[in-house]
């Protein structure tokens, strides 16, 4: 049996899959003790734990440690003269006209920074040797006595020559100090000292937290008789055996949305769709991600609380447009939606918990696209009149009817989502019309059709159990790890040889680590060279064919680069010299036979219901069905609402829907 457990803010979802099919368990989370929620779910699911071969876990433990500032007390050791590296940051402001601007707060206190005399030059030569005496006499005693939980080490130019950083690790270990030590040359071997130091320090900050959490978790599992493999989700969309994560925790940060993306990707693949845009819309925000050939796009840098982190992560773009996003009129008389949200409490006005401001969910109720009786499978009462009342003042100000106003609110939320999708598609040189849209999360299936109409999408997919897709995604994710290194190589006739060498070196490291984790079998490799014109500072990722490195030529490298940069900048950069700046190797051990995710057949069939939805400025009669009334083969034309236990799927006029053998709803334009 395989089990995925996803601990969310409100609910902990568990999906167990065996030869009989999939089973879903939902229990409340215990925010202060995420593992408690997970074990409650295991109990509730009544699993025979010794029969579980594969347990995959997703949690926000690492992210929350940063958000709530509950990581380890970290010491930073850096080059003499640069102790303020994390406080100086990059000297620019994100909001240029904000007089009250504050820099993002680092996770290290200024008094916990230690400087050491040393300097390495960019060619790797040593200008000043490491002052080991100072380390032994002045730094190590303080590390020992002052209760640090972790040490972050970042020296200038250590991305070229790691020897001084490695020596610090040796000195710490020789002194018998029991602290986590994160070296910038291991965590993030790339140039730009602030970004590298920030990444390394965040890794050091969360690693003891993750280590303790996963250690306790494993012990409890073992005590309960678990003998299978325990793995955790990473921000790059792959999993890692827990012991791997306990060594380097940087990929645990922002791993939350990755599992949902992977669940959507795998289910879309089963239904024959490899190029998709995933669209996960919940109460406060929407996450979108572009997927080519079954592989989500990656980005090399992201930020948490404004602090930069450089490591390959799924390129997920988040906007403040959720079911709870508030509609309002600003002082210029303009209708706006979000980014403020009604949250879970009081929630939308139609929840009847005291919310009076209208939300996107209220707008759907007013337009008839969300049927009060069907909300969460009828488990929650919805007050349609409260939704209309909340919209009334705005309608009056705009001089429109309530349903017209509601329709505008939905369109505005849509506009924000469409923008987010354009950012990961159009602006990266991809046309969103070439992709199917996968809608999931509480509000994704409802909003997907509107988004698809604006984008010109040809198909929409709504997977089964769309509300617990993350827990399934954990099980459907491959084991993945990335190795990166900054090394500048001018593209000339000698370049292919160096490319082969560097990738061979990265491959050896990656394979060795995977073997240690018992994963090397059937591992595949992805190679990316970050390239640019000589003299530029930012690179374009260029994928290299792993199987054809032996035949690689300089001309081939140039062609690949030219294609990649043209997608982003719209024009060829000419025949100026180009260079490779860094290399990235991804190693993947695929999960064998990804299981289906069939619906549990516990829903009643509906009797015909007379219903209307507001569409294109008028009310139209619409059909209502429950999901299990859809059978493979029939195509039904909109307007139609399909309801299941977690969401409502809107099929507008001009679209038809069918269900396939994998219980996927597929909407296409008529």
């Amino acid at each position: 049996m395989r089990v995925g457990v996803e601990v969310g803010g409100t609910f902990t979802d568990l999906v167990s899959i065996d030869e009989r099919g999939a089973h879903v368990t939902k229990v409340p989370s215990v925010p202060s003790r995420p593992d408690e929620g997970a074990f409650n779910a295991l109990l509730e699911a009544k699993l025979e734990i010794d029969k579980v071969l594969d347990l995959a876990h997703g949690s926000t433990v690492a992210t929350n440690a940063v958000l709530e500032r509950k990581g380890a007390r970290v010491a930073l050791i850096t080059t003499k003269g640069f102790g303020d590296i994390l406080f100086m940051q990059r000297h620019g402001r994100r909001q240029v006209y904000d007089l009250h601007y504050r820099k993002p707060e680092p996770v290290v206190a200024r008094k916990d920074v230690f400087e050491v005399l040393e300097r390495i030059l960019p060619d790797g030569s040593v200008e000043h040797a490491l002052d080991e005496d100072h380390v032994r006499e002045s730094i190590l005693p303080r590390l020992r006595d002052e209760g640090y939980g972790a040490v972050s080490v970042c020296f200038l130019n250590a991305y070229v020559n790691a020897s001084h950083e490695q020596r610090i690790a040796e000195l710490i270990s020789e002194a018998g100090l029991d602290v986590v030590t994160a070296l910038s040359s291991s965590v993030c071997r790339e140039f730009r000292e602030y970004e590298r130091a920030s990444t390394t320090t965040l890794s050091a900050y969360v690693q003891p937290v993750i280590d303790r959490y996963l250690g306790d978790f494993e012990r409890r599992l073992t005590a309960a008789g678990f003998r299978g493999r325990f793995s955790v989700m990473q921000s790059n969309g792959g999993r890692l055996p827990a012991e791997g994560m306990r060594r380097n925790a940087i990929t645990a940060l922002l791993s939350g949305p990755a599992a949902g993306v992977m669940g959507a990707v795998r289910l879309a693949e089963r239904s024959g769709f490899d190029d998709v845009i995933t669209f996960d819309m919940g109460g406060t925000s929407a996450d979108v991600c572009l997927v080519n050939g079954g592989r989500p796009e990656l980005t090399s840098e992201f930020e948490l609380e404004g602090l930069p982190i450089r490591t390959p992560v799924l390129d997920i773009n988040t906007v403040g447009a959720g079911g709870g996003s508030l509609a309002w009129i600003d002082d210029g008389g303009m209708l706006r939606v979000g980014p403020e949200s009604a949250g879970a409490d009081p929630g939308p006005a139609c929840y009847g918990r005291g919310g009076i401001q209208p939300t996107v969910t209220d707008a759907h109720v007013a337009c008839g696209t969300l049927r009060p009786e069907a909300f969460l499978g009828g488990r929650m009462a919805i007050d349609a009149e409260a939704a209309r009342q909340a919209l009334a003042p705005i309608a009056e100000q705009l001089g429109k009817s309530i349903e017209e106003t509601a329709d505008s609110v939905i369109k505005l939320a849509n506009a924000n989502i469409v923008r987010a999708i354009q950012l990961v598609s159009t602006e990266r040189g991809q046309d969103p019309r070439d992709y199917a849209l996968v809608g999931f999360g509480g509000a994704g299936p409802l909003q997907a059709a509107r988004v698809a109409e604006d984008l010109g999408t040809y198909a929409i997919l709504v997977p089964p159990n769309a509300g617990v897709l993350s827990a399934y995604g954990l099980l459907a994710s491959d084991y993945v790890q990335f190795e990166t290194i900054t090394r500048r190589v001018k593209v000339d006739d000698d370049a292919p040889r160096i490319v082969r060498e560097v990738f061979e070196q990265l491959r050896a490291t990656a394979v060795e680590q995977f073997e240690e984790l018992g994963l090397a079998k059937a591992a595949s490799l992805d190679l990316v060279a970050e390239m640019r014109f000589v003299g530029q500072a930012f690179e374009v990722p260029v994928e290299l064919p792993a199987g054809e490195l032996d035949e690689l030529t300089a001309a081939h490298l140039r062609t690949l680069f030219d294609e990649a940069q043209k997608r982003v900048f719209f024009r060829s950069g000419g025949d100026r010299p180009i260079e490779i700046v860094s290399f990235r190797l991804g190693i993947t051990a695929p999960v064998a036979d990804i299981p289906p995710f069939d619906m549990e057949p516990d829903e009643k069939a509906y009797d015909p219901i007379a219903w209307r939805v507001f569409e294109n400025g008028r009310w139209r009669d619409a059909q209502v069905r429950s999901r299990n009334q859809m059978s493979p083969g029939d195509a039904v034309a909109g307007p139609l609402l399909i309801e299941d236990t977690t969401s409502t799927i809107l099929v507008p006029t001009g679209w038809s829907v069918r269900i396939d053998e994998s219980a996927m709803l597929i909407l296409k334009r008529l």
Binding site: I85, H91, K111, G333, L398, D454, G535, A537
Partner: protein, 560 residues
């Protein structure tokens, strides 16, 4: 044309996004450290009449007056005469430009054979000729500051792209390989703006897109007028001064008179000193940007798109021949110093109206530091732009060590400088404890950056300000700190003036110290916890804590 709020929202968001994308891609494809690392560049979309519709919020001083740089171009080359493939270019400080290195390029956007708008970019070019590499601190007229490109029209395919205009530019500048690359990035960014507007017109129709351009401006105008209407009518004054003109020790006063009448505001800089013979003069376009930035940041919500409409309720004037509206051929390279004092003078006037929204004076100075070297392979030029500490406010302490309000340059990674330049090395870079004014909320502290010189005959030039006149405290807060610059040579210290140049040799150590912002409110009311925190962080010495706040060191608990 009646515009549906939804269409407006969708199209306006797309236009704003297109401007942001232009800015991001300009920076990402650039070559020089000043554009690609410091991000000293801006981008905007203009309507057919040259009114800014949307901008990428990068560098305020360049953004506020893009339309001023555009107007003389279109006057010479009316919009009806433009053809596809043309571009307009301008860097003339006396025809709407800023200073010489800031080159504005405008590309007309044609839809169905008609111009419906322009994509615009501005980049600060690393070296644009003139009497000294990078910057000429001693220029006595604008001709010594570099190559002037008057408002003109060229064709991309034939004049650039290996053509005669490109060759003319390349022949007059010291590092054409990087600078021409940066120009190409401007053209590429303009092409992206063009493509995005085309896509919008395809989808929504050109009428709707143009109607949205109009409404975007009207919308910002309404919101700015609403903000001004909330202020009491009256006449308010503010004043500050530039240290000196680089030749004498005489301060250069800048005076602002702000008049509020209903939903309109007038800012007049009468009483400001006459123009000077060195590069401290601010072209009127810079004065406009500075005054508008002060009003925008103190009075309005950050989400108001800053465009032509936002400027309509505000009239700005400065006497011709003054420091803030000089006659040609005055040198203007260091125009940001006078611009900052204009910004401060307006902020001080506004502090009487909206004391809770303004901040005390910060270091508010742009320090441009240039190190250049002529080696075997030609010139290498390094320029970096530095800020300092912000002023405190009613809401909190000023931000430490950050670029000043009219600029927004990032620092250059030391690892990037290590790779690009072999004649100097950054050896220290950090915060300066105690370098701020005190108050209920303190100013932000300044910082220092230290360079070791590795070759002989390194050309060093600097312009800065507030080396002598401190940022003024507000509502009982104490003054901020001045900056300074020094060279250590053979055990001796040479003090560098704020506008100066020097030849440096191997072994010299150059250090720039930037100042900190002034405090806001009575220091006696400062939260003891904040004082304790600053002492623990090493940003406040116990001696200063005692003097400024009467905070005694013996009550500080042992650090835990």
């Amino acid at each position: 044309m009646q515009l549906d709020p939804v269409d407006y929202a969708v199209i306006s968001q797309s236009v704003l996004a297109a401007a942001r994308e232009m800015g991001a891609k300009l920076v990402r494809s650039a070559y020089s450290t000043i554009v690609r690392e410091a991000e000293d560049a801006s981008a905007a979309l203009l309507d057919r009449n040259g009114h800014v519709v949307a901008q990428a919020e990068l560098i305020p001083i360049q953004l506020g007056a893009i339309s001023a740089a555009f107007a003389p171009c279109i006057e010479r080359h009316p919009v009806e005469t433009l053809e596809e493939g043309d571009f307009l270019v301008n860097n003339d400080p006396f025809q709407g430009g800023q200073h010489i290195p800031d080159v504005f390029i405008f590309t007309p956007i044609f839809v169905a054979g008609r111009v419906i708008g322009f994509s615009a970019t501005c980049a600060h070019h690393l070296d644009f000729g003139g009497g000294n590499p990078g910057l000429n601190a001693t220029a006595s007229d604008v001709f010594q500051e570099g190559l002037i490109i008057p408002p003109s029209k060229y064709r991309y395919e034939t004049d650039w792209n290996g053509g005669n205009f490109e060759r003319l530019v390349a022949a007059n500048i010291r590092v054409p390989s990087l600078t021409i690359g940066d120009f190409n990035s401007q053209f590429a960014a303009n092409a992206i703006g063009d493509a995005r507007v085309q896509q919008l017109c395809d989808k929504y129709g050109v009428e709707l897109v143009e109607a949205t351009f109009v409404e975007l401006n009207a919308y910002s105008e309404r919101r700015v007028r609403n903000a001004i209407r909330d202020l009491p009518d009256g006449v308010y004054h503010g004043e500050d001064a530039v240290d000196d003109d680089g030749l004498t020790d005489e301060p250069l006063p800048v005076r602002a008179t702000v008049t509020i009448e209903g939903d309109r505001m007038e800012i007049d800089f009468k009483g400001t000193c006459p123009q000077v013979s060195r590069n401290l003069n601010a072209p009127f376009a810079s004065t406009l940007s500075a005054a508008l930035s002060s009003v925008k940041s103190a009075l309005t919500h950050p989400d108001i798109p800053f465009n032509e409409g936002a400027k309509r309720p505000i009239t700005i004037t400065a006497p011709y021949g003054s420091l803030l509206n000089p006659k040609p051929p005055a040198p203007v390279r260091a125009r940001l110093e006078a611009s900052y004092r204009a910004y401060n003078a307006v902020m001080k006037a506004l502090s009487q109206l909206v004391p809770e929204q303004v901040i005390a004076a910060g270091f508010d100075t742009t320090t441009a530091l240039s190190l250049s070297h002529l080696g075997e392979h030609g010139y290498q030029v390094y320029i970096e732009i530095f800020g300092g500490g912000y002023g405190g406010s009613a809401r909190g302490d000023g931000c430490d060590a950050i670029d000043s309000p009219l600029s927004n340059c990032r620092n250059m990674p030391v690892e990037s400088l290590d790779t690009e330049y072999d004649y100097f090395r950054v050896v220290e870079y950090g915060l300066l404890p105690d370098s701020c004014g005190h108050g209920t909320y303190r100013g932000g502290v300044g910082f220092y950056r230290r360079y070791e010189i590795l070759s002989d005959n390194v050309n060093f030039a600097i312009y800065a300000d507030r080396f002598r006149i401190e940022p003024e405290g507000l509502f009982g807060g104490t003054n901020g700190y001045c900056g300074r610059c020094e060279v250590q040579r053979n055990g001796e210290i040479i003090n560098v003036r704020s506008k100066d140049g020097l030849t440096l040799n191997r072994g010299d150590v150059l250090t720039l110290f930037t100042g900190g912002g002034a405090g806001y409110g009575d220091p006696a009311r400062r939260d003891r916890e904040l004082i304790r925190h600053d002492i623990e962080a090493g940003l406040l010495s116990s001696g200063v804590a005692e003097r400024a706040y009467g905070f005694s060191a013996d009550v500080i608990p042992e650090s835990t």
